[in-house]
């Protein structure tokens, strides 16, 4: 019974992941992006749980709980907390929404082309969905380069990280549990550190526009 639903569930979860990433490029409000990030965290956790049930591994289910806690709840909470303190929560990105969405489409096609060459020997259902992870990595990069607010850059970094996790789960059922723990902890700490720096930036400059960070150069 589950075997017949499995491909659809995988498709549903990865579809949600790609959709939330694309919407983040489209939306300019920071708070909306953070809500999308939270949804994305839950979608990733669902994907992990589906893979865990399919492979009948309790360890993977534990990882999915961890993903919900860290990526679905803790990180968006930290970010939302930071954002409410800023006066400006909307973003004036370097790319208008139409150009942004077109770029997302191009990046998705690109990742399908790359992945079809990379995983040519692998015919499993999850490997077919792996390009989505790659596309998320590229969309994360897009957010990192085109956004001006410190908070938006953080979101770009987290989409990038979610993309890597997606690739990991789809290609090899995820890395061992103790590594997953270490990686989650590292990402959480990086976000907390950037959060503290964004706070200091606000104290010193009055806003968190990273375009003003250009005093150091040669």
């Amino acid at each position: 019974m589950f075997a017949s639903v499995f491909p659809q569930l995988i498709g549903l979860c990865t579809g949600a992941l790609l959709l939330t990433s694309a919407l983040m490029v489209w939306r300019h409000s920071l708070l909306a992006s953070i809500r999308l990030l939270s949804v994305q965290g839950f979608a990733l956790a669902a994907l992990v749980a589906v893979i865990g049930v399919e492979e009948r591994e309790a360890e993977v289910i534990i990882v999915s709980v961890l993903v919900v806690l860290v990526k679905g709840m803790a990180l968006p909470w930290v970010l939302a907390h930071e954002t409410r303190a800023t006066t400006r929560t909307d973003e004036a990105p370097r790319l208008n929404p139409t150009a942004g969405l077109l770029t997302v489409a191009l990046l998705t096609i690109l990742s399908y082309v790359v992945a079809s060459r990379l995983l040519s020997g692998d015919t499993s259902i999850s490997a077919h969905a792996a390009p989505i992870g790659l596309a998320m990595v590229l969309i994360g990069f897009l957010l990192l380069v085109t956004r001006r607010q410190a908070g938006s850059q953080l979101i770009g970094f987290l989409v990038l990280d979610n993309g890597i996790a997606t690739v990991a789960f789809l290609t090899s059922g995820g890395v061992p549990l103790f590594l997953e723990l270490g990686i989650s902890l590292d990402v959480l700490l990086v976000v907390v550190i950037l959060y503290v720096f964004a706070g200091r930036m606000r104290n010193k400059f009055g806003n968190t526009d990273i375009d003003q960070l250009r005093k150091l150069h040669d």
Partner: protein, 492 residues
């Protein structure tokens, strides 16, 4: 002997907790120094074990010290000792409230680097490298000025994105190992030459992992965080970051290279590393010629030396002993220079080269170590950087990479000239006011030269002394380097 595998991790962490809680007060500011000493001692113990033909391992092989790991751990400890001990005078300038966390972060930073070189698991090593970014983030932003905040932000964003790319590569390498039945991230297993690893995945994974760690190693074109972070961090932290953190990232590249070479041959990464290395040398040369800030000058020199090491890594097994010796020589020299630069910054109150003149006449206590260390850095014999560079260049001509090495040599000469000019401008000459116009400034009485070293002298003497003699010691240094290089050369 297995004890020496966990002391470099546990001792710094315990000392860090003590520094944070105030329990280290009887130690004063010696917490980081004690951490470095523990790492160095463990490294030396492991080196002795390795030279005995043993390979200590712990925790079911999670921690493992072959010749390369033992050597790298020793370098981490030695450079850490020079930076923290030499920086004792300097660090007192830190805001009092943050002294405890400053010391604690340095200790944890040392533990993270030790874990990165001891872990026999790419994933664990990745987590440790990411942990170095986390611990150094606040150290770079320690001065809490506008510039240090800017440097710290760039450092954390670029550092963690770069390392995230490496994680993607590691994930692909893990996926490539599924064909072996038991997917693994162990160096030991992955570098066996007869494993059925998927070549396409190893190629992509290796390229991404090397690209990511190259960001952390400061190789061009991903170097832009490095001059900012290294010039804004407190001097002992700069010494540690420049001296060993870059080398730890290079170590990761070398380990990844072993895996990819076994599966898809050496040509693939050879091109990548040659391009990155030469580009780094070019960037360093271009920006050193017109450099105005002496801490940034040291940072660009780090990019130069990492570029040269990358060229050595591209050449392959023939150049590896020279590259490994380079890691030690550059680490000790750069740590000394950053420590002295911190003292110069403190007494002169300016990082600008133009404002620091005639140091040899005015402050010989600082100018003499600075001059000796700069001579070592630009590659004068008998200092070991000279022998490393010669070794890499000779090996390059021997393996048919004459063009790459030739270009590198030209760029090295440009950098040599630029660094010499800047050093001479800072140290040699008469102090202003004496040579300007003796009649117009009657008040400029010749002041007694300041012979104080403004901090502990011994660590600088030990560091420079070690780099001066280490290249001449065939036993056990030569043997150790050969064995460490053999670890990377696979089953040769």
């Amino acid at each position: 002997m297995d004890l020496a595998l966990w002391t470099p991790l546990a001792v710094p962490v315990v000392l860090a907790v003590l520094s944070l809680t105030g329990g280290a007060r009887p130690l004063g500011r010696l917490g980081p120094v004690a951490s470095s000493a523990a790492v160095l001692l463990s490294g030396l113990l492991l080196v002795v074990a390795v030279l005995d033909g043993k390979v200590p391992s712990l925790g079911g092989g999670v921690l493992r010290a072959d010749a390369l790991s033992a050597y790298m751990l020793t370098v981490v400890g030695a450079v850490g000792l020079v930076s923290t001990w030499g920086g004792l005078g300097h660090a007192t300038a830190a805001p009092g409230r943050f002294v405890g966390s400053y010391d604690a972060l340095i200790s944890v930073f040392l533990a993270a680097m030790s874990l990165a070189v001891l872990a026999d698991n790419i994933g664990l090593m990745w987590a440790a490298v990411e942990a170095t970014t986390i611990t150094t983030a606040f150290l770079v932003g320690h001065h809490r000025t506008r510039s240090s905040l800017e440097a710290a932000w760039k450092y954390v964003i670029l550092g963690s994105v770069g390392v995230a790319i490496a994680l993607l590569g590691i994930v692909l390498i893990y996926a490539a190992s599924r064909g072996t039945g038991e997917p693994t991230l162990s160096w030991l297993v992955l570098s066996h030459t007869d494993l059925p690893l998927d070549p396409a995945l190893i190629r992509a994974g290796g390229a991404l992992a090397v690209l990511g760690f190259a960001t952390k190693a400061g190789l061009a074109p991903m170097h832009s965080w490095l001059p900012d972070a290294h010039s804004q961090a407190p001097a002992p932290v700069s010494g540690l970051m420049s001296g060993v953190l870059l080398a730890v990232a290079l170590y990761a590249i070398l380990r990844i290279q072993t895996i990819t070479d076994a599966v898809i041959g050496p040509d693939f990464l050879r091109v990548m590393l040659s391009v990155g290395g030469l580009l780094s040398l070019f960037v360093a040369a271009a920006l050193l010629i017109r450099q105005r800030d002496f801490k940034r000058m040291l940072a660009y020199s780090s990019i130069e030396h990492m570029g040269m090491m990358a060229v050595g890594a591209a050449i392959g097994p023939a150049a590896l002993p020279a590259v490994l010796l380079y890691v030690l020589g550059h680490g000790l020299t750069k740590a000394t220079l950053f420590v002295v630069s911190g003292r110069i910054l403190e007494v002169e109150g300016t990082p600008r080269i133009d404002d620091v003149r005639a140091l040899l006449v005015r402050r010989p206590g600082l100018a003499v170590p600075w001059l000796i260390a700069m001579a070592a850095l630009v590659g004068f014999p008998p200092f070991s950087i000279f022998f490393s560079e010669v070794g890499i260049i000779v090996a390059g001509f021997g393996t048919g990479m004459g063009v790459v090495v030739g270009v590198a040599l030209v760029l090295l000469l440009v950098i040599f000239a630029a660094l010499t000019r800047l050093t001479v401008a800072m140290t040699i000459g008469a102090p202003a006011g004496v040579d300007a116009d003796p009649g117009a400034t009657p008040g400029s009485v010749r002041v007694a030269p300041d012979r104080s070293a403004h901090g502990p002298r011994l660590p600088l003497i030990l560091a420079l002394g070690t780099t001066a003699v280490v290249a001449f010691i065939a036993e056990p240094v030569g043997t150790l380097l050969a064995r460490a290089a053999a670890v990377l050369g696979g089953a040769q």
